[in-house]
């Protein structure tokens, strides 16, 4: 039987986040939109300085205040989420067993503990990226490294997932996180 004992850490977090798209890129995108808006405003204010400059500067100040505040909140939120995820994940331990019919997930967190028996159709998709495996269930995403396999090996697990999931399983041979 193929088994894995998972203790979440920063490597798991980085792999999971990389898969979702970096949230900091979204914040950067938002910053860009705000910067373009401000550039328009400043250019306009210089063009129109002789008319009603004070109104434009007032708009500029309100615009900077509102968007700056939102941006700061967004980035603080993202940093907070990262810290929270690492903290939460670090306190979680999972044990996974893969057999022919189902995968058995046992977990224990501060709030919740339990056991789930899930048949393979529940799996939305699974990826193997370098040394990392990602398994997306309907309400949960599991991330673990081949080093955490305590029974069987990565090749056996890939073969099983390929057989059970078909096109829902992808094997990407290289991953930048192999180096970390």
């Amino acid at each position: 039987m193929i088994k894995a004992d998972i203790h979440y850490g920063e490597g798991h977090y980085k792999t999971a986040v990389k898969n979702k798209g970096n949230p900091f890129l979204k914040a950067m995108g938002y910053s860009l939109i705000v910067a373009v808006g401000l550039a328009f405003l400043i250019k306009l204010s210089f063009d129109l300085l002789k008319y009603h400059a004070w109104i434009l500067w007032l708009y500029g100040a309100v615009f900077i205040a509102v968007n700056g505040f939102t941006l700061v909140r967004l980035e603080v939120l993202l940093l907070g989420v990262k810290k929270d995820v690492i903290k939460t994940m670090s306190s979680v331990s999972y044990s996974l067993e893969f057999d022919e019919e189902e995968l058995v997930l046992r977990y224990d967190t501060k709030v919740e503990f339990g056991e789930k028996h899930l048949r393979y159709p529940v799996v939305k998709w699974a990826d193997r990226r370098g040394e990392w495996f990602l398994i997306n269930l309907k309400d949960n995403e599991l991330v673990f490294s081949e080093k955490e396999l305590t029974g069987g090996n990565a090749e056996e697990l890939s073969a099983l997932l390929g057989e059970k999931l078909g096109a829902k399983f992808k094997y990407v041979r290289s991953s930048s996180h192999d180096k970390s």
Binding site: L41, L48, V111, G114, L118, R119
Partner: protein
Amino acid sequence: MIKAHLTYTTEHLMALAHSKNRRTRPRQILFRIGCVLYFLSLDVVLYWYFYELKNKTLLWALMFLFVVSAYGEVKKLLKLIHLDDEVRKLPITGEDRIFVFGEDEDFFYELISDENENSRKNFRYAHLHKAEESDSYFVIYIKPELACIVGKKDITEGSSQELRELLSRKLGSRFSVRKGEF
């Protein structure tokens, strides 16, 4: 021991949505209305003062930016106002759920079963976020963003009175009762 046997329906999700948004919804609606008015007034005032400009390209661009922002806020506002319609769009997964609340344990558990899943989830009372009761439902928040919903008519063993006393004893001030519906 108190047991409840149920499958989540739109009514359960509706109870959760109203419980979750009850306190913050009026504030959120007011905030969104403020945002829409802010962006629209920027547009109106900008145009009022600068419509005489020969080259209006920058003015149009700026006004377009504010209109797009106002449109985004209107969409968020409509979602808040039509909360029930938003909930009705949510998919119902249809698993069979049994909640068991023991007198002596320091946790309650949920058994979930359908053709692809058999699970037992145990939730420790000491670390639950909070619980709320209305005339028809108990909503037990595991975390602020995750909750179990138990309808009073879903209770098959014990009574809602017993569940109220149990939650009150286990959660203390984190349990609250609301007259009427959420």
